[in-house]
């Protein structure tokens, strides 16, 4: 760690991991509710658990991105953060606002929450991922603007690197696209357009820039490969992400009442969307291959490679699986979608944040890498979480295929709930995989506290 203000990342990462635990606890709760419908009813109904699960995911990923930016940007810009106090202040505002919102979901009925927060003045609630009360959304905007300002000033008044600029572009895009969440037209078709503009211009657009720059940063650090090489890769990845992702979003306009040409545009362009994810895999493989040094933080190298591979699988392969209109006609909104959603979010964004944490946490704690025991445990937790996520994805894919067949394809289609009953075995197994995921997460957290032999430094100036 070269600059003191980089240390601010630590509080962001700790909050991120704590909320991650919450997210998974609600995930396994819902997983059980899938097979035992009245589990924890009426205390935690499925719809509330679902909101908490997905909102916590987004919020902790935002904490993770912010922490990553606070760690990365000063070092790349070769100066202290523009306003460290602002970063600390925003942390608490975001944490309190986030916490209150989650409590609101859990303690009062959603309609009452809408009333209490005066949703009718500027109605923005009631849409998946964007369930937050309007005041929370305003809070998010304030935090995001302060954050982008802080990072932006640091970048613009310091050394400008490609990594910094790509990251900044991604973060500005993140803040700007969130503004669409305030537009909530009565026309449902229009509403859907703008809904997709938020979350999916994120995950299939600007977040890819964030992901690519974080990955590039960690890879430069752990492999010692020349910056120039990595920058060239970044340019290609970014170009491909934007070219394919923006129009590719048309794959969400197939059946919402939009004009039929979207079936062509969406299919063709989104079929290109795996390319940037594939490029990231190629990029990560090739720089690890050409590495100049063996970094003592092996766990971080593993996370970086894992991110590249799992993002390609989750977003690239499982996205492509159902992105062509004639296929999506059958699979739309089934468990196939959930399979893809889980692996893509985990493989791309969860893992890239964990990569940054793995690389930077030891540095913030005054070491180059975690001790041998801690790394061993962290690597074990990597495999537990990653393999159980693969299992969840495969089980949901199997369930989804069965669902499509019985409910939508066969000559005598069965009703939704009858089909769900027939899928119980897959859901039970998914629950088991979910519990293994949770144990992996606990092991991950434990690894930060494990004592053991310090790593030896083979590499001379590894940092």
């Amino acid at each position: 760690m070269k600059y003191e203000s980089q240390g601010i990342a630590k509080m962001y990462f700790i909050a991120a991991i704590a909320l991650f635990v919450g997210q998974i606890l609600f995930g396994v709760t819902m997983g059980l509710q899938y097979v035992m419908g009245d589990f924890l009813f009426p205390e935690i109904p499925f719809n509330a658990a679902r909101m908490v699960h997905t909102n916590l995911l987004i919020v902790w990923l935002l904490f993770g991105f912010m922490g990553s930016a606070y760690f990365l940007v000063p070092e790349e810009a070769e100066r202290e953060l523009y306003a460290p106090w602002l970063a600390k202040l925003m942390f608490w505002i975001f944490l309190v606002a986030g916490g209150l919102t989650i409590l609101g979901y859990l303690l009062v009925p959603y309609a009452r929450l809408a009333e209490l927060t005066m949703n009718d003045l500027l109605p923005t609630m009631g849409r998946e991922f964007l369930e937050q009360p309007t005041i929370t959304k305003i809070g998010i905007v304030i935090v995001a603007l302060a954050f982008v300002f802080n990072i932006g000033m640091t970048v613009l008044t310091g050394r400008k690197t490609v990594i910094n600029l790509v990251l900044l572009t991604g973060l500005v895009g993140l803040a700007v696209f969130f503004l669409f969440s305030f537009y909530n037209p009565d026309n449902l078709v229009l509403d859907k357009y703008f809904w997709w503009f938020v979350v999916h211009l994120w995950v299939e657009g600007v977040w890819e820039l964030i992901m690519a720059s974080l990955l590039a940063y960690v890879l430069i650090k752990v492999t010692g490969v020349d910056r120039e090489v990595i920058e060239k890769w970044l340019y290609i990845i970014i170009a491909m992400a934007l070219i394919s992702g923006l129009v590719g979003m048309g794959h969400h306009f197939f059946w919402i009442g939009a004009p039929a040409y979207w079936q062509w545009l969406g299919s063709v362009f989104s079929a290109l969307e795996p390319i940037p994810f594939f490029m990231m895999t190629l990029f990560a493989f090739s720089v690890v291959n050409k590495r100049r040094r063996d970094h003592p933080n092996k766990a971080a190298v593993l996370w970086a490679l894992g991110t590249a591979v799992m993002a390609f699988l989750g977003a690239g392969v499982w996205g492509f699986l159902h992105t062509l209109a004639p296929i999506n006609y059958y699979t739309h909104g089934t468990q196939i979608t959930a399979a893809h959603g889980h692996m893509a979010f985990y493989g791309a964004y969860v893992m890239v944040v964990l990569t940054m944490i793995s690389y930077s946490m030891p540095l913030m704690r005054g070491k180059k890498a975690a001790n041998v025991t801690a790394q061993k445990l962290e690597i074990r937790s990597f495999w537990m979480m990653t393999l159980s996520m693969v299992a969840i994805t495969l089980l949901l894919t199997a369930a989804g295929t069965m669902q499509v067949y019985l409910q939508r394809y066969s000559a005598e289609p069965l009703p939704f709930m009858i089909v769900q009953d027939k899928l119980a075995i897959f859901y039970w197994l998914r629950e088991v995989a979910g519990l293994i995921f949770l144990s992996g997460l606990f092991l991950y957290i434990y690894s930060f506290f494990a004592k053991g032999k310090e790593v030896e430094f083979i590499a001379e100036q590894a940092e």
Binding site: N289, D294, K298, F312, W318, L394, Y405, L406
Partner: protein, 121 residues
């Protein structure tokens, strides 16, 4: 083993063709591989990668097409379980082959053989 530029180029073309055979250009990629193979001599890096590519393609052909076909024949076209198995199996195995070919491609760029531990000891 000495490696000149042309050999290196053929090695990377082989790796690329093997990847294309698995993705955008099935069969055509394979024919390309056979063509590259015909130009190589034993004990060279380009022959090595041509062979790796051909082996990968054949193995993928068996694992993906033959096995899938057998499952469909045995399981029956009309059984949902057949499709449950086929989709999950095909997607994950296909993806694994693609990842392997990708790794091969990055290895071929360095002009070395495949072996090297991904993670350092």
């Amino acid at each position: 083993m000495n490696t000149d530029d042309l050999q290196l180029k053929r090695a990377t073309s082989s790796a690329l063709l093997s990847l294309l055979n698995l993705t955008a250009l099935p069969v055509i990629g394979f024919i390309g591989l056979l063509y590259v193979y015909s130009k190589t001599k034993p004990n060279t890096i380009d022959r090595y990668y041509a062979v790796v590519g051909i082996k990968t393609s054949l193995l993928a052909g068996i694992a993906l097409l033959l096995v899938t076909l057998l499952v469909i024949l045995l399981g029956g076209f009309e059984s949902p379980l057949t499709w449950v198995y086929v989709t999950s199996y095909f997607v994950i195995v296909h993806a694994s082959f693609i990842l392997f070919a990708t790794w091969t491609l990055t290895r071929s760029w360095t002009g070395e053989k495949l072996k090297r531990q991904i993670l350092s000891k």
